[in-house]
């Protein structure tokens, strides 16, 4: 393994495959250009190699900067798994109608429970229905601009907050440990998607990035 390979290995650590390929190509070309220029200036091949590698700087610093602007391996995996989820739902049109049906049934059941005086259970059912509503909206609405996506995300978190408040009511603090352990994967997914949005131009966003 050459010194340049070592440098590239460190600089591309934890990056997605496509990002690694792009960095390798660019840095290799850059390295060769610098080395050729040094040889043309009279340096020996070994000295030219060292000079070209030194000009690239610290691989760890480059890696930190690359991870801020290029997709990491975890983000690449999330994009792929997101595509799988979208494909699973979109290829089964009946599935989205079942989810929509469940929402309607939930809202009707909540109304019936309120009218029959069983407000406690009605509140819980309403909470679950509101919690499911962003998922239903995501299946039926079209989001093709970043601004619409932002509006949807605000509405989604608002709906989830209302749902949690309705279901747990005054006991919200008591059950906070359960909520935190259930919601952290969601929060992690949201922050990873935000990071992907910063790194990909809007024209290249898959559907799940708008949600």
């Amino acid at each position: 393994m050459t010194a340049l390979d070592d440098w590239l290995k460190q600089a591309t650590r934890h990056l997605a495959k496509d990002s690694v390929a792009r960095v390798r190509t660019e840095i290799q070309e850059h390295f060769e250009s610098t080395r050729d220029a040094a040889v043309a200036d009279g340096a020996t091949p070994d000295a030219a190699d060292k000079f070209a590698l030194n000009a690239l700087g610290n691989a760890k610093v480059a890696n930190c900067q690359y991870r801020r602007v290029l997709l990491t391996a975890a983000e690449g995996r999330m994009l792929r798994s997101g595509n799988w989820e979208a494909h699973a739902v979109c290829s089964r049109p009946w599935l989205k109608w079942i989810i929509a049906g469940a929402l309607v049934v939930g809202l009707c059941a909540a109304s019936a429970l309120f009218f029959t005086g069983r407000a406690e259970v009605g509140r819980d059912v309403l909470g679950v229905a509101i919690g499911v509503s962003p998922l239903t909206a995501a299946l039926f609405l079209r989001f093709r601009t970043p601004a619409r996506g932002r509006v949807f995300r605000v509405a989604k978190w608002l709906a989830m907050t209302i749902a949690v408040a309705l279901v747990f009511g005054p006991e919200l603090l008591k059950w906070s440990w359960l909520l935190i352990s259930c919601l952290w994967p969601l929060a992690w997914t949201e922050s990873t998607r935000a990071s992907i949005r910063r790194k990909l131009p809007a024209a290249a966003w898959p559907r799940q990035l708008y949600l």
Partner: protein, 108 residues
Amino acid sequence: MNLKGTLPTLILEALIREPSHGYRIAQRIKERSEGVLDFREGTLYPALHRLENEGMIESFDGPSSRDAENGRTRRYYRITESGRGMLTRDRGEWRAHSRAVTMILEEV
């Protein structure tokens, strides 16, 4: 000299006349500053990718003079309209900043 924060502006300036690849951009910055602005070239590409993500520049595959015979290509970058706008703003800010610092330093 530390280039922190000014590298994106210098990259846009280097691309204002014609599209270019990373190595040439680095050389242009060093030559035009007569070697005063020196930086680690490994940090140039993350800055290029960030500018591309922000829509200030765009990349395309162009001919590589070294590999002209075997048909290999090289990644070139060109400035976009948004990039030109950003460069104009940055130039104005830099002139104002530089004038203010010069005024203070010349008082002594």
